[in-house]
């Protein structure tokens, strides 16, 4: 695959804080890449470097093989959807949509402009809002218009900065699906920034996990979810988050310190490691160690239990056929075939 967008060793600092360090990233010509990371990980900075709103301190940005590192945002021909909508206030939806088309050098006729606005409005289901002033729109409508303003001019690259974060849950889900459909129609490469792992997993062709300005892992949602390369990646995906234990292999079992046995192990005797177990891979019954239920959350089709087990809080998912109450004692059993092992070290 010949990448459309290519970042090589991008560094960026805001004063004394290092926002990005040594970021390498490639986005395919017809790909939706989601950048996932917690608040402050440098996601927005990364996107702004791609757009040219921020310039990189070091490294290069290539678009379609051309070095655009020093180009202005306007020259890069990218579209940017901001978290805070960024509509031009006091203007009608139509004027907002027309604005990028009336930019100098675009030389579009009135007819072409009207056609494109109509096309975008239909695609985003905002035909009926065209004459309405932009302040009198709901959050969801505003974000649709903002997206519309980006697609009317058919940019080469689409950058979205947490576009759904300020919307309510139901709308978020609707727009998520619409965005996914939209990108199939447009066939423009997209980079989508979010802190919401559900959004990342459901929309992405590939996910890049960002933490403290560094890319931790890039892969398909399936790869990143099932084979996280580090505990940090594992903690960012999955709801509830993955359980991580410090373990040591002794006589065919993973021991958590001297607190007890977690699961069977085929590892060499004496090896110590970090061990990740997804909540859905722990059964509430059938294990050998006691645990105390602390909190029972109703997650709809299942229960989410937070239990004190082996000296730490462990999250697990239990079926609804049985009910649980805080204080109850259970014996969790880990599906030993599904655990993930990192950072193996020879024991002493």
């Amino acid at each position: 695959m010949n990448p459309f967008l290519h970042l090589n060793g991008v560094d960026k600092s805001h004063g004394a804080t290092r926002a990005l360090s040594g970021v390498d990233l490639a986005v395919g010509p017809d790909e939706l890449l989601v950048i996932l990371g917690p608040t402050g990980a440098g996601k927005t900075t990364l996107l702004r470097v791609m757009a040219g709103l921020d310039s990189a301190d070091a490294g290069t940005v290539l678009m379609d093989g051309t070095d655009v590192t020093d180009w202005e945002p306007a020259a890069r021909d990218v579209a940017f959807v901001f978290q805070h909508f960024a509509l031009y206030p006091a203007w009608s939806v139509r004027r907002n949509l027309e604005f990028p088309l009336r930019a100098p050098g675009r030389m579009l006729g009135q007819r072409e402009i009207a056609d494109r606005v109509q096309w975008a409005a239909e695609l985003l289901h905002i035909q009926t809002l065209l004459e309405r002033p932009s302040e009198r729109l709901s959050g969801g409508e505003m974000q649709r218009v903002a997206i519309g303003r980006c697609i009317v001019r058919r940019p080469r690259l689409f950058l979205l900065d947490e576009p759904l974060t300020n919307l309510d849950a139901k709308l978020r889900e609707t727009l998520r699906v619409e965005l996914a459909l939209l990108r199939r129609t447009l066939a423009i490469p997209m980079v989508y920034v979010t802190h919401d792992q559900a959004e990342a997993l459901s929309m992405a062709d590939r996910i890049a996990v960002l933490s403290d300005g560094k890319i931790l892992q890039v892969g398909t949602p399936e790869e990143v979810y099932n084979r996280p390369e580090s505990p940090q990646v594992a903690r960012q995906l999955g709801q509830p988050a993955m359980n991580v234990f410090s373990v040591c292999a002794r006589s065919g079992h993973w021991h958590v310190g001297n607190k007890g046995v977690l699961a069977e192990s085929t590892a060499e005797e004496g090896i110590s490691a970090s061990l990740g177990v997804r909540p859905e891979h722990i059964e509430p019954r059938g294990g050998g160690e006691d645990a105390a239920v602390r909190v029972v959350e109703d997650a709809g089709p299942t229960w989410v239990l937070r239990v004190d087990w082996l000296g730490q809080e462990v999250r697990l998912i239990a079926g609804k056929e049985e009910s649980y109450r805080p204080g109850q004692r259970i014996q969790p059993r880990v599906d030993a075939g599904r655990v993930i092992v990192w950072d193996c070290e020879e024991g002493v």
């Binding site: 757009a51 945002p73 901001f82 960024a86 031009y88 206030p89 604005f99 100098p104 002033p133 303003r149």
Partner: protein, 293 residues
């Protein structure tokens, strides 16, 4: 019920002090001055008699009044226009953060913080044709030394200049607030949308500042309309070239002692001000509606 009755009187009891003050200080003088405007009352002496609309007839016949009206209009228009342009220009130049910004802003705001009457006296010294600081300075540089506040061709300009000096900071302050209220991501969106700097300024900056600037113009215009302190200090209330309506009013009532005629003047001014304000408010309302649709 008794409780309600009590509470009713209690309510009036609380309002009463404010109400008494309002009536004594505002409403009574207002009504009494209407009566005065139909008499030939003097500042001293108590014998005055009813003269009917004679004072009002006199107002419109009196050439001084028309002259003062023109002077005032010209003064308000020029002062507010200069202050708006200069103030907004300064604010636009200073809108970004830089190292000495707080200091620069403080220095620029000083003129506004000082009492007008005092500043008027200071400027009278500075602008004095013979020993004023400005002319000393011009003399050092080898320029001619005009009679700033006595030359009939210059004194209006001098008063205007001092007013602009005093009140440009106010316009700058409001403009700065308006400029800084524009969210930066709007500009970023515009940059990505390939808007040229001029287009961004014309289509985004100006319209988004307009409501606040309109308010500032209204405030400044009503203030400039009442301008008295500077004129009093610089050229005096009875100067033909710089006599504004307030100066004329002062001259009539307090120097000439013609209270009846003076109050008649003030009512004509009041009607004018109300008319002007309502025109302006209507314009603002239209601007608001236009920007809404």
């Amino acid at each position: 019920m008794r409780g309600d009755w009590d509470r009713g009187w209690l309510r009036y009891g609380f309002i009463a002090p404010a109400l008494v003050l309002l009536v004594a200080m505002n409403i009574f003088p207002l009504l009494y001055s209407i009566v005065l405007s139909f008499t030939n009352a003097d500042l001293v002496g108590s014998n005055s008699s009813w003269v009917g609309v004679l004072n009002y007839k006199f107002v419109f016949k009196f050439a001084k009044y028309g002259q003062a009206l023109r002077t005032t209009a010209l003064f308000v228009f020029l002062a507010v226009a200069c202050e708006l342009l200069l103030g907004f220009g300064l604010a636009y130049a200073l809108r970004d953060r830089f190292a000495l910004k707080p200091l620069v802003l403080t220095v620029l705001l000083v003129p506004m913080m000082l009492p007008q009457a005092v500043m008027g006296l200071f400027w009278k010294l500075i602008l004095n044709g013979n020993y004023g600081a400005l002319n000393q300075f011009l003399g050092l540089l080898g320029f001619s030394q005009p009679q700033w506040i006595t030359d009939p061709d210059l004194k209006f300009l001098s008063v205007l200049m001092v007013d602009v000096w005093m009140w440009t900071p106010f316009m700058m302050l409001i403009s700065l607030a308006a400029l800084q209220a524009i969210p930066p991501h709007i500009y970023e969106a515009a940059a990505i949308d390939r808007a040229s700097p001029w287009r961004t300024f014309r289509r985004i900056t100006l319209p988004m500042c307009a409501p606040l600037l309109g308010l500032a113009v209204l405030l400044r215009a009503t203030d400039a309309l009442k301008q008295f302190d500077l004129i009093m200090a610089l050229t005096g209330p009875n100067d033909r070239v710089t006599q504004t309506l307030s100066a004329l009013l002062y001259q009539t009532v307090f120097r000439d002692g013609k209270v009846g005629l003076g109050t008649a003047y003030s009512y004509v001014i009041l009607v004018l001000v109300i008319a002007l304000a309502s025109v302006f408010l209507r314009y603002m309302g239209r601007l608001q509606r236009e920007s809404d649709s």
